[in-house]
Each structure stands twice: as structure tokens, then as C-alpha cells.
Point group: C2
């Protein structure tokens, strides 16, 4: 973390507010034809070209969403973009523009902003989105990054959370629980470091889950794959707070219940082994860990054959009538465990006991 | 200010993050036909109906942009919306939607969020914009409100900062300097209160400038007036940082210089008398005070007759070739004083001396 402890670092006051924004954004070019006017006017101008516009805003706050003790600022900038684009992907839209607002205390020098914007630039390039607006300000303390992401799609292709029907299949991309376990490893090693700064952190072998936590990717690729498979999801959401919480959101807005089969939940082998090492249940990490930024969606039962053996997708359950509630079907016993957004202590104890 | 010192106030944890957003936004309805989907999905969905979309994001940070010692939270919510809509008005577009992100430390109870959102609701109603998205989070300390404002207009009607030509007339709406003097009065009375909490603040007679500071309005009305007058500005900006700074922005982006006539700068009589009381130069307050949220724009010389006697507008100068620079033409002497975004000490001394 670049905190302003060195006389070689540049205070923000050397640029002033306008100068800083200009300095940070002057290397960003506009690549999308829909980006008509970018940073530097009162507003950005976007040409939707007949499509609808989807838009979302998310805050990342120091001490709540990230710890600068172990999160590099460049990764933070990248992640801030990725988690916002994940919301665009969850609408089945193509991300096109972002606006970035950064409030930082005066312990952050210009070089810290540069690192954050280097990560943002990398994400803009990777996801082919344009930075079209922004604001920076000093704040009383801490770092707060608010990103607004814009995407576009034709009206009939946009997917909300509210279209799932009973008997629809519940599908998830990638694997779950890894980002949460990556966080546990980072926090463990950070605690060791704080206790003894001469200790080297033991990060070897945890690469995949550390990357899931520090540099998550938005599944903007899924839209294209689904189009190729000729599948139009009936409802969709991204997995930012855990499979359990997201399933309950789909339930709430689609007015259906869900059954999720524990044995179907996709887990990476490193997720399983790290959970065992830390004496955690890997299924719990998937259900309540969050930050995986995979997509969770429902499809009509008739689409089963199109998706059943696809490596990017796992069918983990199905929708039922709302009155039947939301339950995990436990491995082996087929016991029904009610899905709950607030933790799994009782279930875990019974599994471990 | 509602800080969480009373056991009768509700901690945010009583609702949780999702519950709080739902609680705060459930009374907001969607009134604009372009608002297809509001709060509660991964994104809002907006239908631009063939128009271009203008979008802007602004941060208001405690201790930098406001002092909760004398700014009521409801006013803060209203002002946060108004200052963002001012950016939309400065593009000659119609504001249609906002997204609100609030980061607040745990000293703020649910009732504080309710006050902020009550002000936001009042502004949404007044300006006929829809709240379509948002995020709330706890933060390390302080209150940071980031608002993203969306507006729409046909491509040919949008006005940027970059279209002014030499000889164009420079026009400003309303009057300037009042918001800055309102702030001086608030800070004076707050200092008196801090020194002796039994002293009553002396606010009588300052109503207009206090309102300019605490409850500014975006000039969303100007777009209609200009259309009725059949005037299409060649460049436009809103006056958030002072007439001097905004003129320099127009100069920079339009590649022209400007002459502003000191005697033409519109000042309210209360602005003048309060400046005299505080031993300040009211013209300096207009040039560098900021937060007036009036519109500053250029029009073709041929439009002079359409606007010359209109009560909402004052012609304060004109554009010249870029090489001729940006100067204030002093009252009486016609002395040229270079416009400068960083303060007027030298000029003030010469005027006062």
C-alpha cells in the first residue's frame, strides 16, 4: 500500500482536483462507438443506438470491502470494475462504459491514485469498456470507491431476476466458495505478519483461490456462450453474496421456491482442500461466502439438452412453487435444510458432529 | 444532525444491508416512461427512446463538501440530487433518473438515512426524476454520498463545453456569489455556537443566501426557456466552482478566450450587503465562491435580440480569439485583470487599498 509516508511521493494538492482527474484519465481512450463524449465535460454522452441501457452503482469501502494491509491498490482498481461489470453481465447485457468516483483521505498520495487507475485501465482494456466520467475528492478518512457501470442490450434480450417459473432448471457458472477461502488465507497470513513482521507469508499453492479473491473476473463471456447455445435465461443474478442469498433473491422476485442439490454445487479441489485445512465446510463457503462473481440463472426445462454437458455450466437444482420454500437437499441423506442468508451454524454442527 | 447517541434510534444492523435499501427506497415510484426497471435487480433498465443518454457522477464528502454541524441531513439529500442534476441541465438535457450510493460510519442510525432519503425524495418529486438504483454501506468514518445522474436529449440538442466561437456572447442565469456568502454566515454562526452553545445564531435577514447554500436548485427550467426563445447555446457549463473557473473551462475546451465585464456580473442586493458586512468583495465571491449552480453559456451574436431583456439571463461578456486570453474588464478603469481559478488576493488588495 502506498501511504504518504515518504517525501518522494506527490501530495494530491500538487495537482488540485481538476488537475488530478485530468492526470489520471488522460490516457484512457474511447473505444466503443456508443461512447460519444467522455471525461471532461459536465456529463458523458452515450448513444444507445436503439438498445436499452442498464446501469448499476456499487461502493467499495476500506475496512468493509477491502483491507489495504494485503490488497494491492492496482488489484483493488481492477476488482472494483469487475464487480460492477458483473452486475451488467447478470442482466445479459454488454458492458460499455464506467464512471469512477474516488474519495480518499490525504494519507493517499497521487501515486496511490495512479495505482488504482492503473488497475481500472487494465480492467477497461480487458472488458472493452470506456471510462467516461469520474470524480475524486478528499475525505475525512479511508478510501471509498464508487463505480457506476453502464451496459446495453435489446429489450427482449435483457434478463431480470423475476422471470423464473416452477420446474425451471437452476444453473451456475464456474465454481463457488473459492473467493471466500482466498480471503481466509489472506487474513490468516496478514495476522501472522502483524504478530511478527519478519515472518514470510505462506501463500504458495493457494494461487487459484487468492486470484478468486484479489482479481475476480466478471462473467461477461457467458452472454456470448448462451447466445451460441440458443439459451435465453428466464432469470439471472450474479453471485456476490453467496449462493444462498442469491437464490433467495431469485425466489423473492420470481415468486418461486428452489431446491439445490448439495452434491451438485461446483467446488474446485483447492477450495475443498483449503476448507478442510481451515476446518470449514466447503459447501458453506459456497452458500454464504460470496464474492465469487459467477452467474446464477434459470432456464426452461426444455433447454436441458443444450446445456447438460457444457464445461462452463452446472445444473444445481430447480424451481418449485413458492409455497414449497427454498431448501438445500443434503448429500446422501436427502434431508431438506432451509436456505438462509444469515449463516449455517446449526447445519454445520450437525454435519461436523 | 441525527447521530446515534440515543437508545431510541435504530442501528443499521436492525435492517441489514438489503433490508435498509428496501426500507429506504420502497416509497419511490417510477414516473418516467424511460424508467423500465428500478431498484431491486442487478441493474436498473432505462429506455432512451431514440435519444442520447447523458450521465454524470459526483461525490459529496463530509468535512469537505458539507459540515453536519449546520447542514440538516434532509437538506443534504436534496442538495446532493440538485448539484448532480445541474450537470445534466448544463448539457441542455432533461434529467430522468438518479442512482444513489451512501457510505456512512456506524454513528449514523437508520433515522439518519431516512432523513437523507426524505431530501432525495423531495428532490426527485420536484425535478421529476426517478431513483432507479443505489447502494449503502458502512464506512470507516464520516459520510460520503455519491450520486449518478442520468438525462436524455436528442443528439443535435445536446450542448457540450466545446462549441463557443470568437464573438459569441457569454450569458449567465440568475445571480452569483450568494451561496458562498451563505456559507460564510453559516460558518460564522457555527463558530459562535461552538464557543458558547447558549448563544442564539443570528440568521434573520439572510434567508436568500442561506437558501442558496443549503437548498440550491438546478436550473432545469432553462432548457425550456431557451427552446421557447429559439436559442441553442454554442457551449454550456454549470457554475459549481465559481464564474472564473467555469469560464476557464469553456475557454480550454472551446479554444477561445473571454472578456467578462465586472459591472455586468449579476449580484443580489443581499449578496452585496453581506459581502460588505464581512469585508469581502462581492465580485470575488461571484468569481471564486462557487456552488451557485447557475448556468453559464455562449450564444451566437445574432441571438442578442432574443435574450437581451430577458429577466432570467445576463450577458456578461463575449468570446475572443484564444491568444487574447481570459480577462475581467474592471469597472470604471477598464483595466484588464487576468482570470484565474486560484484566488483573487492581488486584485482584492488593489481594489480595497
Amino acid at each position: 500500500m502506498l501511504e504518504d509516508k515518504s517525501p518522494n511521493l506527490t501530495p494530491v494538492s500538487a495537482y488540485g482536483e481538476f488537475g488530478l482527474i485530468k492526470h489520471l484519465t488522460e490516457h484512457f481512450s474511447l473505444e466503443n462507438s456508443s461512447s460519444q463524449l467522455g471525461v471532461g465535460d459536465d456529463c458523458a454522452v452515450i448513444a444507445p443506438e436503439g438498445r436499452q441501457v442498464v446501469i448499476s452503482t456499487d461502493i467499495l469501502a476500506e475496512g468493509v470491502h477491502f483491507n489495504l494491509g494485503y490488497v494491492p491498490l492496482k488489484h483493488l482498481g481492477y476488482k472494483a470494475v469487475a464487480v460492477n461489470l458483473s452486475d451488467i453481465a447478470a442482466m445479459n447485457a454488454k458492458p460499455t462504459q464506467i464512471l469512477v468516483a474516488v474519495a480518499a483521505s490525504n494519507r493517499f498520495p497521487v501515486e496511490a491514485f495512479e495505482e488504482i487507475y492503473a488497475g481500472i485501465a487494465l480492467a477497461c482494456k480487458h472488458y472493452q469498456v470506456d471510462l467516461v466520467g469520474g470524480d475524486t475528492t478528499s475525505s475525512n478518512s479511508g478510501l471509498v470507491i464508487t463505480i457506476t457501470a453502464v451496459g446495453m442490450e435489446n429489450k427482449e434480450k435483457i434478463v431480470s431476476r423475476s422471470g423464473a417459473q416452477p420446474n425451471d432448471l437452476l444453473v451456475v457458472t464456474g465454481d463457488l466458495g473459492g473467493a471466500y477461502l482466498g480471503l481466509q488465507i489472506l487474513e490468516r497470513e496478514h495476522s501472522v505478519f502483524l504478530a511478527n513482521p519478519n515472518m514470510q507469508p505462506e501463500m504458495d499453492g493457494y494461487d487459484y483461490i487468492l486470484q478468486r479473491q484479489l482479481k475476480p473476473e466478471a462473467r461477461t463471456d457467458i452472454k456470448t456462450i448462451l447466445a451460441e447455445l440458443e439459451i435465453h435465461p428466464t432469470a439471472m443474478i450474479d453471485v456476490s453474496d453467496g449462493l444462498s442469498s442469491e437464490t433467495l433473491h431469485l425466489s423473492d422476485q420470481s415468486k418461486v421456491g428452489f431446491r439445490i442439490y448439495e452434491e451438485k454445487i461446483p467446488l474446485d479441489s483447492l477450495t475443498i482442500s483449503t476448507a478442510e485445512e481451515l476446518n470449514l465446510n466447503p459447501v458453506m463457503c459456497a452458500l454464504n461466502g460470496g464474492e465469487d462473481y459467477e452467474l446464477l440463472f434459470t432456464i426452461a426445462p426444455a433447454d436441458f439438452d443444450k446445456i447438460k454437458n457444457h464445461p462452463d455450466f452446472t445444473i444445481i437444482g430447480h424451481a418449485v412453487d413458492l409455497e414449497q420454500g427454498n431448501y438445500l437437499v443434503a448429500r446422501g441423506s436427502n434431508e431438506l435444510v432451509e436456505l438462509n442468508a444469515q449463516g449455517w451454524d446449526a447445519y454445520l454442527k450437525s454435519k461436523r458432529g
